[in-house]
Amino acid sequence: MGKTIAQKIFDAHRVDKPSGDINVIKLDAVFCHEITTPIAINDLKARGKNRVFDKVKIKAVIDHVTPSKDSKTAEQARIMREWARELDIKDFFDIGENGVCHALFPEKGYVRPGYTIIMGDSHTCTHGAFGAFAAGVGTTDLEVGILKGVCAFKSPETIKIELTGKPARGVFAKDIILHVVSILGVNGATDHVIEFTGPVISSLSMEERMTLCNMAIEAGGTSGICPPDSTTVDYLWPFISGEFPDKEAALAEYVKWTSDSDAAYSKVIKVDISDLEPVSTYGYKPDLVKKVSELEKTPLDQIYIGSCTNGRIEDLRAAAQVLKGRKLSPTVRGILAPATPGVYKAALNEGLIEIFMEAGFCVTNPTCGACLGMSNGVLAEGEVCASTTNRNFNGRMGKGGMVHLMSPATAAASGIAGFITDPRPYLAEGEA
């Protein structure tokens, strides 16, 4: 019997099997941010174990609320900062260089096929786009990861999502993953890895693959995962060119992290996306998904473009294509949070920031901010937001607020209209 990517990664990293199907695996990277790490740092200090297993494999960022909005968030940032300095964490990103973790770390080239990664953040599954096993964990797992470089997981069973067909105009990776989450349900993949395969995946960019893997957790998945291919190598090439004579050699190495054709899956779901239309969530669970046409005319107070799901440059381009030469509805506030300084700079250079500002957007610095209702665009009671983020839980963006999750193009079109609307008419008359 063959093996899945996740099984191969576990086999290569297992250090112990303490019982039954529990594996303790060694970690190639431990990512840290300022919301879930300070308590781990304080606990390590209290235990007299203020150490790290490897100061290069730990990467840290202040991203959730930055610049700090009050004394408490300032204190969290201070704890991170002092810890990173004291323990000489080489790759630590603070004001001026910081951005949303799951956008920033791939951009810096920290993820490789076959890697094992944990972070105290549920959307760590994003990094599976590179053919890695990447899982969100709590603070205790993070603390042990920081100290020992290991983490315990059940043996990974995998659900395979085979995507075929060709996306119609106006249908983006976000529409595909919302559709998949609606098929699986919010706990349809609990304790499972979701492997995305098929011709659609081969045709997607790394950014689009990250959008897919990002929302694996919304179906309960431990990690999303895409088989590495030449697109993966092209993306990573600036970071790995010193390790391989040429891209072919890198590819030959990385395709080892591909599932065998006779690998055992707990479920295989074939999804033909040819007939998929732009979609949006409604209600308070990410698996409540409808065609945008069925939600047409839902009035909006705010649109938010950003986050680890859809705050990357391709997302900004898609939104800008809709917004170019148009204005937001006077009843809607528009907020753009480019996910990283790199995205921000690229958007400036490409003239996208100007398009957003001309349309009436407020452009904030890179941060999670409103995505989790912490800052920079929290909703008031009863307000409705069209958002490119990944969670629509009750209260997520502010107590009593309602969040509709959708693609950047749909959010932009909806901002212009003032209510949820189909982006296709805007795209069709847009760019030549």
Partner: protein
């Protein structure tokens, strides 16, 4: 080892997420104790009032997919500082379940039939659970009735509970 006995709160809803258990705005706290007043503050459930209903509670019994959403360990901590160390449900989100055992607490799944039975016999009545950890049995008592339900946890989870959590366990073994 922590205490796994006491008064039960029945939460008759599925998909109770970590934002409902402890809203994101409290994630700026850097001590566990500070979370104490905010447990289940945003839980939207008819007739549920945290101030009134959490009084004296040591055990929560709920339905499917308990603890889904954010990875925040603040959710188990908010339970822990309120002296609730045991959640029983049909099933749990992976990270929440792991976080509970990592803290030496328990998140124990029971079959739908068993959960239904517990709800129909005891929900809305003054009920206690007594946990026989060594023999893996919960004893529900209330309203003059009692019900014993065997449960299963892995040997690994059992050692985490005994060790008082994953940091101590890992420190000893790796």
């Amino acid at each position: 080892m922590k205490n796994f006995n006491g008064k039960v709160l029945f939460l008759d809803r599925s998909d109770i997420n970590t934002d409902e258990i402890i809203p994101a705005k409290y994630l700026t706290e850097i001590t566990k104790e500070a979370l104490k007043p905010y447990l289940l503050e945003d839980l939207k459930m008819e007739g549920f009032a945290p101030d009134r209903d959490l009084k004296g509670v040591s055990v929560i019994v709920s339905r499917e997919n308990f603890g889904c959403g954010s990875s925040r360990e603040h959710a188990p901590w908010a339970l822990e500082v309120n002296e609730i160390n045991l959640v029983i449900a049909e099933n749990f989100a992976r990270i929440f379940r792991q976080n509970m055992f990592n803290c030496g607490m328990m998140a124990v799944p029971l079959s739908k039939e068993r959960i239904d039975e517990a709800f129909s016999l005891f929900a809305g009545k003054e009920t206690t659970v007594t946990t026989d950890f060594a023999n893996s049995v919960f004893k529900f008592e209330g309203d003059g009735k009692s019900l014993e339900i065997p449960f299963e946890i892995s040997d690994f989870d059992r050692s985490l509970v005994e060790a008082g959590g994953w940091v101590d366990y890992a420190d000893r073994n790796y």
